[in-house]
């Protein structure tokens, strides 16, 4: 049938023309935003972008995952226009070592000069990033029903936490679910303990130009404390081997979906995962990392995603940063949960409001994530690997093996430090 054939060819031609618009050909310059998010977070970010209204330029989201720092790699000649850097601690390094980050125009600089952020983002009076999202990395999500069953309350002290774990184990409930497949979960755990026992050492390591954590006795002490919890037989749902292949959403599903454990250390951004997989939507609770010693403040490890402009930046990229930093821009994400904005305490779920309040409380023991600021020592071949090996050596074996494992871990780390 010639007529239908002609119609088909016409349609094909139209499609071709539409498809070959310069946008798809990649010739028109779009603003490319490199992000580390995937899954629900990535979709939420797309919603945020869609909520910005009509833009004069196309925006392309480039999910780089854990390899986000390659966006700055020496070899990437044309980089993304905006990097949503999930490790704000990398900013000073990038700025000093490579001098490849653009300063932020003054009218956008205010959020970057806020408390805590200014240590990382401001240098010599100039601001090098705009915070987009804040993360509370000292949150433990748990199932209140299990706590009620055993008759315990969320812990205020590290020692209470160990007692709770024991009580749960005795009642036949696995206390913890651990996402050891994601290295940052392990480092977050250690950072909380270290910050809790030795804030000064933590701060010193964070600002050192050549940090050598293995030389700090407090670092080994933190490992020993951590070992006292991790080595307990039956501490982890599925055992250590299962933990090693779990990513953080898997660990959450273990607690709330399959109900095989009582609690999981996960940041505020775990909220949507918790809610979407929870078997019982009312059985969700959150407590914050307890103080390590009586009388001390509870540690709060802070993370976040900061918008950074690699050099040279375009006007469109600056414009997008401006639009994304308006308070209303992130509302779609806040509505979906798991999103905290620096300095804001309203509009969240009750659980996240608690976390937001702790972040804004004065006198809090707040520090940025340490591992990002350690350079390669804190990276995938450094602290990540050392802690993974540490976990394998002590998991399910009881506290007797801890001292030796701590020595080995410190020795391994020393090797990395060189």
């Amino acid at each position: 049938m010639p007529s239908s054939r002609r119609a088909f060819l016409g349609a094909a031609a139209t499609l071709m023309v539409a498809g070959c618009s310069s946008d798809v050909l990649g010739l028109r310059r779009s603003v490319r935003v490199a992000v580390s998010w995937s899954g629900q977070e990535l979709r939420a970010f797309h919603d945020v972008l869609n909520g910005l209204g009509r833009l004069d330029y196309p925006v392309e989201v480039v999910p780089l995952g854990d390899d986000i720092s390659t966006a700055f790699g020496a070899r990437s000649t044309r980089r993304p226009d905006i990097v949503m850097l999930p490790q704000p601690g990398l900013v000073p390094r990038e700025r000093e070592d490579r001098d490849d980050i653009q300063t932020i125009p003054d009218e956008l600089a205010a959020p970057g000069r806020a408390r805590l952020w200014n240590d990382l983002l401001v240098y010599d009076g100039k601001t090098y990033g705009v915070p987009f999202k804040t993360a509370h990395k000292s949150a433990i999500w748990y199932r209140p029903s299990v706590f009620r069953e055993v008759g315990v309350q969320p812990p205020q002290l590290w020692s209470e936490w160990l007692t709770i774990n024991k009580a749960l184990s005795d009642a036949g409930i696995r206390p913890l679910s651990l996402a050891a497949g994601d290295g940052w979960v392990l480092t977050d755990f250690l950072e909380n303990v270290l910050l809790g026992i030795a804030p000064a050492v933590y701060a010193g390591l964070a600002t050192a130009t050549e940090p050598r954590p293995s030389r700090e006795p407090e670092f080994a002490a933190a490992l020993r404390l951590l070992g006292s919890m991790w080595s307990a037989p039956g501490a982890f749902a599925g055992g250590v081997k299962r933990s090693l292949v779990q990513q953080f959403p898997d660990a959450i599903v273990e607690v709330f979906g399959h109900r095989r454990a009582a609690m999981v250390l996960a940041s505020d951004f775990a909220e949507p995962v918790v809610r979407s997989f929870a078997a019982d939507p009312d059985d969700i609770g959150v407590f914050t990392f307890p103080a390590l010693v009586p009388g001390a403040a509870a540690p709060v490890v802070v993370g976040g995603d900061v918008m950074v402009l690699p050099k040279p930046s375009s006007d469109n990229a600056v414009d997008l940063v401006r639009r994304l930093s308006t308070p209303a821009a992130v509302d779609p994400w806040i509505k979906q949960g798991g999103f905290l904005v620096d300095g804001r305490v309203t509009g969240y779920s009750p659980e996240l409001t608690r976390l937001a309040e702790q972040l804004t409380a004065p006198n809090g023991l707040l520090q940025f994530d340490l591992s990002d600021q350690l350079g390669p020592v804190g990276g995938i071949n450094g602290l990540w690997r050392v802690l993974t090996d540490f976990l394998i050596r002590i998991g399910d074996r009881g506290s007797a093996v801890v001292p030796e494992a701590v020595d080995t871990a410190v020795a391994e780390l020393r090797e990395v430090e060189g």
Binding site: G26, P63, G65, T77, Q247, P249, V253, E254
Partner: protein
């Protein structure tokens, strides 16, 4: 056998006369050389960066030397080399298993009808998709992972399949699933091409079983074995995205292969000289395999008696007994079922809501629907689809336009013999060159030309990377053209262009094979898009990979995106598979 009388030398040959029909040196016009010009230009896209890498690998602070190769002393790099060599063994195992499956399906023809589609589908989907599928199947949660669920049901508890050491099983299964179909199909085509006369003669002489295997099938299939082993071994050494998607982060270190090691070193900003050295070592391994394989290919010369009488269809192969046929059906059905299962798992997972897919396995009956597909649509899947169509279409078109004249030039263009040989060797080496050899300089060059993120640039790189293989394949198809046809064209009033037209008309299967394979290869590509175009372009595979980072929680979305990404190559391969196999085996037929 020959005889000489009266200064006349006679030779009795048992095959078609393949020499030049007219004695003497033909006129050699220069014009045909122009046919090779576009290919030369396109190949420069690879040749120059390869040269840059080689120079960088040998350049040290104090001049030239092997200083950069000290990087191989690094335990991480050593482990990567070890793992890459292990992969070569895996490839040989896949070829062996495929050979026996092909033999089985040849002896029991009833198998073919099931086996064929079941084996072709995995070959059509991308490595990323098959990796994702096997990770789903081996998921450690008994509610979620098929194997874990079955194992737990049978034995009460199950090993952690993705755990230390055992992840190799998942990797090898995914690799085998992908490649076995290709291996079986090619061997099967080779077996089918064995003339019945020989089979009957051998049978009449009472040669059976293993003896028959070593006397008949193995020697006759040598050329095809060469092609098959070459492709599978090279695929095994180049394994990259499979490890990325299958192995959980905490074990990536122990699963490291050379290609990945190179990428990690590049990404972490290691010295370019040292990464170039790593790339060169990878290249050396692959090139060694390639050269050995190709030499094996050239060493075959089998003369078959020309079938003067067309075979009588009633005299075909003897039908196996009823019992054997029933056995064949059962085995074929079982194998096909096992083989199609991963694809079913993927589709069934995609048909669950993201929540249900994250919590329970594909067999769960609740939460059915298309919500995972809409979730996948939200991450820019359709834009990526359009982008991929464009890149794959452009790359295929450019490749065909350039490869056909080049292959013709090499086959019939009357090149001096030495030049032809040199060209073929260059193409063989280029065909096996890993992306890591040219990625870094090429990306820099594209970047400084202001073309980074351009899909056209990416399509051109794809075309350049596909060119060597396409020329090799087309050349052998052209070269096996009946000489009569060519001589007629050459001697007649027709000119070169007419020869080209004739040859082209006759050798459609090879053309189709090249087009279909290139399109599917580019469509499924991860590594070229990932290493060369950087984060700029977003072909399907990169979107899929981004989504797969939180694997089991986003199983539904990953599966939906994988299904959408696989529809086009699967339909394409299933439609053209017979022609592709014919095209692939045209030049290597006994």
């Amino acid at each position: 056998m020959g005889l000489q009388t009266n200064g006349l030398s006679l030779e009795v040959v048992g095959r078609e006369v393949s020499g030049r029909p007219v004695a003497g040196k033909p006129r050699r016009p220069a014009a045909p050389y122009l046919l090779g010009l576009p290919a030369l230009l396109l190949s420069c896209l690879l040749l120059i960066p390869i040269g840059v890498t080689v120079v960088a690998a040998f350049r040290t602070n104090g001049g030239f030397g092997f200083g950069n190769f000290a990087v191989m002393g690094d335990p991480g790099a050593l482990r990567a080399v070890g793992n890459s060599l292990l992969w070569v063994l895996v490839a040989f195992a896949v070829v062996a298993v495929g050979f026996f499956l092909a033999l089985l399906s040849y002896r029991l023809p009833a198998l073919t009808s099931f086996l064929q589609p079941a084996l072709v589908i995995p070959f059509a989907v991308s490595v990323l998709v098959s990796g994702a599928t096997f990770r789903l199947i081996f998921d450690p949660a008994p509610e979620h992972g098929t194997v874990t669920a079955v194992w737990t049901r049978l034995f009460g508890t199950s090993p952690v399949w993705l755990g230390p050491g055992l992840f190799w099983l998942v990797l090898v299964s995914a690799f085998g699933w992908t490649w076995l179909g290709y291996v079986v199909s090619l061997f099967r085509a080779g077996l089918d091409a064995i003339p019945d006369d020989i089979t009957r003669t051998i049978a009449a002489e009472g040669v059976t079983g293993w003896r028959r295997l070593f006397m008949l099938e193995i020697p006759l299939l040598r050329p095809i074995t060469g092609v098959v082993t070459l492709t599978v071994v090279i695929a095994a050494v180049r394994v990259f995205d499979l490890v990325l998607i299958v192995v959980p982060g905490s074990m990536q270190g122990s699963a490291d292969v050379l290609g990945l090691n190179w990428w990690r070193a590049t990404a972490s900003g290691e010295d370019p000289g040292r990464t170039a050295a790593l790339g060169l070592v990878l290249f050396a391994i692959v090139a060694a395999v390639g050269v050995i394989g190709f030499r094996g290919l050239r060493r075959r010369r089998w003369a078959f008696p020309v079938a003067v009488v067309p075979p009588d269809p009633t005299l075909g192969r003897a039908k196996p007994s009823k019992r054997v046929r029933r056995f064949g059906w059962t085995v074929g059905f079982a194998v096909s079922l096992v083989w199609i299962l991963p694809a079913l798992v993927l589709v069934a997972t995609a048909l669950h809501s993201p929540r249900e897919a994250g919590l329970h396995g594909w067999w769960s009956l609740s939460g059915l629907g298309f919500s995972s597909f809409s979730a996948a649509a939200n991450i820019g899947l359709f834009r990526a689809l359009l982008s991929t169509v464009l890149i794959a279409g452009a790359a295929t078109a450019v490749l065909l336009v350039i490869a056909v004249p080049t292959a013709y030039l090499v086959a019939w263009g009357g090149l001096p013999q030495w030049l032809g040989r040199v060209l073929m060797s260059v193409f063989v080496v280029l065909a096996v060159t890993p992306v890591q050899m040219y990625a870094a300089p090429l990306r820099d060059a594209i970047g400084s030309a202001g073309l980074a993120g351009s899909r056209i640039a990416l399509a051109l790189v794809h075309a350049a990377a596909g060119l060597p293989f396409a020329v090799l394949l087309l050349r052998s198809a052209f070269a096996s053209a009946p000489p009569a046809l060519v001589s007629e064209a050459l001697l007649g009033p027709a000119r070169q262009s007419a020869v080209l037209a004739t040859v082209q008309r006759t050798y459609r299967p090879a053309l189709i094979a090249v087009a279909v394979l290139e399109f599917a290869l580019v469509w499924n590509d991860f590594i070229v898009g990932f290493l060369i175009s950087g984060p700029g372009t977003t072909p399907l595979s990169l979107v899929l990979w981004g989504e797969a980072r939180q694997f089991s929680a986003s199983s539904g979305t990953v599966a939906a995106a994988a299904v959408v990404a696989s529809v086009v190559p699967v339909v394409l391969m299933l439609t053209f598979w017979q022609k592709v196999v014919r095209g692939l085996t045209a030049g290597s037929r006994p």
